[in-house]
């Protein structure tokens, strides 16, 4: 069977809601994506309305959790659930505490919800504290992976800075192969994308995932921003944000036909030189039956003209991405 490269494409956007616009307050939602250390991850944070610096809190939490989940993915995937919950909360709270110190504020001034999905090879992990929703597409069916944690009243939720955050934290880990897409939505976006009574995802989420099949992530990002502003803010006075990731399977033979930007996305490269190296390594790997034994790596290095270290790095990276 012909091998293919599996990659995860991501887009994210956040817009300021009517209530914050009217009071000239900053958008307290943040959504970002990252690709690092063989991990693709998206994160979203919705800063607490009552916390005066929660826009800093949301930004800090998203950056901290993305770096953390890329760097420690293997440990987070295999450790005891209780330990993972504690480590995630304490790492993000440490980052929030450091940011609060520079602002001469308390960590409670940085209160925020947090949603994350990270994928490495055939494994994924998802983390969720507070309101908002994590949606997924599994075996072609879209569903809720994690639903909002709320208090009795509509304006109550749990934040990463709350005492009960480690216990309230939702954690899911497993085989990512049945999944083809994930979406993180803030409470504002969930107003129109998540049916609370039926616990059902709106058809729009599937449509949005489909955009990443035919467009570049940056074009999708711009479209997300327009839709959030033009459509979502009509229905929600809250800030609205969304982060999505979509599985893309590209036959090896077809990669050479793609334009350079797509080649970078598919192969996880940042430069054209790196794309050329990976394509050469891929071709040689095919001839070596995708082995990463020392003999095969030596042959790949010789054929591609790369050092044994670079050839090995590319070969191991690509092997994780092969279907």
């Amino acid at each position: 069977m012909e091998r293919a490269v599996v990659s995860w494409l991501c887009s994210s956007a956040a817009v300021r809601g009517r209530a914050h616009n009217r009071r000239r307050e900053p958008c307290q939602d943040r959504a970002r994506a990252i690709r690092r250390d063989g991990v693709t991850a998206i994160a979203l944070a919705d800063g607490a309305g009552s916390a005066r610096l929660s826009h800093f809190g949301a930004e800090t939490a998203v950056r901290a959790v993305l770096r953390f989940s890329c760097r420690y993915f293997d440990e987070l995937f295999s450790s005891e659930p209780g330990e993972v919950r504690g480590r995630v909360v304490s790492h993000v709270c440490d980052a929030l505490g450091a940011c609060a110190a520079t602002q001469k504020a308390s960590i409670q001034d940085m209160a925020t919800t947090l949603l994350v999905v990270a994928v490495k090879g055939s494994r994924f992990l998802a983390v969720h504290v507070g309101d908002g929703v994590i949606a997924c597409e599994r075996d072609g069916v879209s569903s809720v992976l994690s639903s909002p944690t709320r208090g009795e009243y509509a304006n109550e939720t749990v934040f990463i800075t709350s005492r009960k955050a480690p216990d309230a934290l939702f954690l899911a880990r497993g085989d990512v192969r049945p999944y083809t897409a994930f979406a993180l939505m803030s409470d504002g976006s969930a107003t129109v994308l998540y049916d609370r009574r039926e616990s059902r995802i709106a058809p729009a989420v599937r449509t949005i995932w489909g955009w990443l099949d035919r467009n570049t992530p940056s074009d999708v990002e711009s479209a997300l921003r327009h839709n959030l502003r033009d459509l979502f803010l009509e229905k929600s006075s809250d800030d609205c944000s969304l982060a999505i990731m979509r599985r893309r399977v590209t036959q090896i033979a077809a990669i050479a036909e793609c334009d350079l930007e797509f080649q970078k996305l598919i192969l996880g490269c940042t430069s054209s030189r790196s794309v050329r190296s990976r394509l050469s390594v891929l071709r040689c790997m095919e001839e070596e039956d995708y082995s990463v034994e020392p003999d095969a790596l030596a042959t790949i290095a010789k054929k591609t003209g790369l050092s044994i270290e670079r050839a090995s790095f590319h070969a191991f990276s690509m092997r994780q991405m092969l279907s």
């Binding site: 309101d131 709320r150 009243y153 998540y194 709106a202 729009a204 839709n227 459509l231």
Partner: protein, 225 residues
């Protein structure tokens, strides 16, 4: 951006607006006869009009009215959307069965919360507005201990308001362990209900994690502080 990446409204879902249940528990005893009952009627009408004119509150506020006069507490109408209700017109007369009225109001609030939960509708902390101009003519101890327990467990917000110099503020205080009762300035019902509708509106627009402070400055417009 071409039409290809524009969502259609039909692809989105409609969730019910989070509700703010407010129960008005009003004294219509004989001592309210004349100007007080007329001003109360006008104030309540203004309250309904203000909420109906507010783009968010008109969908989220749900008002119920209980009165106490004669020999019994009376449910004027239960919680429902503002569009489905007609503004009540009260007649003054009889005694002041305050305990029975508060008991009835709390029963109605509890029942409404259960309905919200069973139908998947989000809601904010319920409000009970208690207005009286005199002394109760029934036992208030049972009703007072219920409101105290609810308030201490963050299940209820109460606004106890005394009308005129004869209102017994120490009785009202028994219903409200956290918020001291306030005495209405003269017959400033309209100012009070205008403040109340604005406060309901602010809560109905609040987002998760937001504590909505009361408009303390606005209270001076209707209360003798």
């Amino acid at each position: 951006m071409g039409d290809e990446m524009k969502l259609r409204k039909e692809e989105l879902v409609e969730n019910p607006t989070a509700r703010v249940p407010v129960c008005l528990c009003l004294d219509v005893s004989g001592s309210m006869t004349g100007a007080p009952i007329e001003e109360l009627n006008q104030g309540v009408r203004l309250f309904f009009e203000s909420l109906s004119n507010d783009e968010v509150a008109k969908y989220s506020a749900e008002v119920a009215v209980v009165t106490f006069g004669g020999f019994a507490a009376q449910k004027h109408f239960d919680f429902g959307s503002l569009a489905s209700q007609t503004v009540p017109q009260f007649q003054a007369g009889g005694g002041t069965p305050l305990g029975a009225a508060v008991g009835l109001a709390v029963d109605m609030l509890e029942a409404r919360k259960k309905e919200y939960s069973s139908t998947g509708i989000d809601y904010y902390q319920p409000w009970l507005v208690l207005m009286t101009d005199g002394q109760p003519t029934d036992d208030i101890s049972g009703a007072a201990s219920r409101t105290v327990s609810l308030i201490e467990n963050r299940k209820l917000t109460i606004f106890p308001i005394g009308i005129g110099p004869q209102a017994d503020m120490s009785v009202l205080a028994q219903f409200s362990p956290k918020r001291s009762p306030l005495r209405l300035k003269g017959l400033n019902f309209r100012e009070f209900f205008e403040w109340l509708s604005k406060s309901v509106s602010r809560v109905s627009q609040s987002i998760p994690g937001t504590n909505v402070p009361l408009d303390e400055k606005g209270i001076k417009g209707w209360s003798e502080l």
